[in-house]
Subunit: 238 residues, 2 copies
């Protein structure tokens, strides 16, 4: 079974939702047969590369709420994170363009360390003072700690085309699947869960997806296809 | 869309079937959105590790056919391969236990070079004189040429537990999906194609699987899940 999770590094509910999903997954009896893939979604693709600033005034201005309200939101997020044992910097977190971070997540997927990389980026963004949007050296350190090769990380960062198409393909797929926000969880391309739901909702989704696995529809030709089995290979007619 | 292909390195129809599938995939208009994963299936898990011998007398003895018939089968396979432009050694090919090769295919998957690795192993087994079952140095050379790190390859070969569970999980899944032989192609866990079918059958399967992609069933909670979208994040109630 496969779970795909569309996320953005800018998205606090993605950080929180991943942890709640993992609570459910850890207790799921078929965990060993569940594969998790992280997919790209940019909350604000229009943010200029390298542009950054503090989240609280940015959010207040962008969505027309008071800075006090925006700051209170951060405190609320901090409490939700804390309840899950996740560190959260309720003051001083910044925002920025996440395209390059998504490209690195695709590199990490190719190298088998995607989960470690997304955890590193979440921690870097939500729990550490250094910026993952404006401080490339910080990103390189996080990537190396997640298991990536430093030279490869720098090569991908230096070439804006590397993994760009993979990021955009993820974003197109999110739109096709009906996602308008993140986190967005898709199980075997049959079930969808939107948002940082309670762990019980993820348990229900995992169970329902598992139980709904159905026999395959077989597509065949008149002659059948030659195959090999425990009793040998079909004998091709010369 | 995802295509999983269960195969064994011992299986000539897997080598041939992969090429026919790729003909269909190359012409498929949504190729860029198709992900291919190779999964493990051992045709003869009882073969002792390192035991090997020539295929023709082995097949003749095992399945009670004459050596002449077994040799004619190899010639027939050679012609099928040749028609696809695939090199094939119709004399002198050997057989053996493929468990370690499957473990390496899982390492290659983790490193993003699984397709190159399976092609290298097929060529090594079906088109080259050196054995992939009895000559570990040959396997190491093939793996390095496919893009793997030599030290990692040797470490995996030296530790029989590395990726063993992944191989067995693939085999359990094959059984659950109803596969009794290989190659066995599974599209989005909905459609199955057994055997080295003509390319048109793969085209039909790809088209049918693509057209049958359906809207997700949404699993939700009473409160909904907090999410972030282009218009900002849900405001957690303090």
């Amino acid at each position: 079974m496969r779970v795909e999770i569309w996320t953005d590094i800018n998205c606090p509910f993605c950080y929180i939702g991943k942890s709640r999903f993992e609570q459910a997954l850890d207790a799921f009896p078929h965990k060993a047969e569940v594969e998790v893939v992280h997919r790209s979604f940019e909350l604000d693709p229009s943010a200029a590369k390298g542009e950054t600033g503090l989240v609280v005034p940015h959010i207040a201005q962008k969505y027309g709420i008071s800075e006090a309200q925006a700051a209170a939101n951060e405190q609320g997020l901090g409490r939700q994170a804390q309840a899950l044992g996740l560190p959260y910097l309720t003051e001083g977190r910044d925002y920025g363009n996440s395209f390059d971070l998504h490209r690195l997540l695709h590199l990490a997927q190719d190298k088998g360390v995607q989960d470690a990389m997304i955890d590193a980026l979440y921690r870097g963004n939500f729990a550490e003072q250094d910026s993952v949007f404006a401080d490339e050296e910080h990103v390189v350190r996080l990537a190396v700690a997640a298991g990536l090769d430093e030279a490869e990380v720098r090569a991908v960062l230096a070439d804006p085309d590397r993994y760009a198409e993979e990021v955009r393909a993820d974003e197109r797929e999110a739109a096709e699947l009906g996602a308008t926000g993140v986190p967005f969880f898709v199980l075997d391309r049959k079930f969808g869960v939107s948002g940082a739901q309670p762990a019980e909702v993820f348990t229900q989704a995992l169970t329902q997806a598992w139980d709904s696995r159905s026999p395959l529809t077989v597509i065949d030709s008149a002659d059948g296809g030659d195959a090999c089995g425990p009793d040998g290979c079909a004998v091709p007619q010369a």
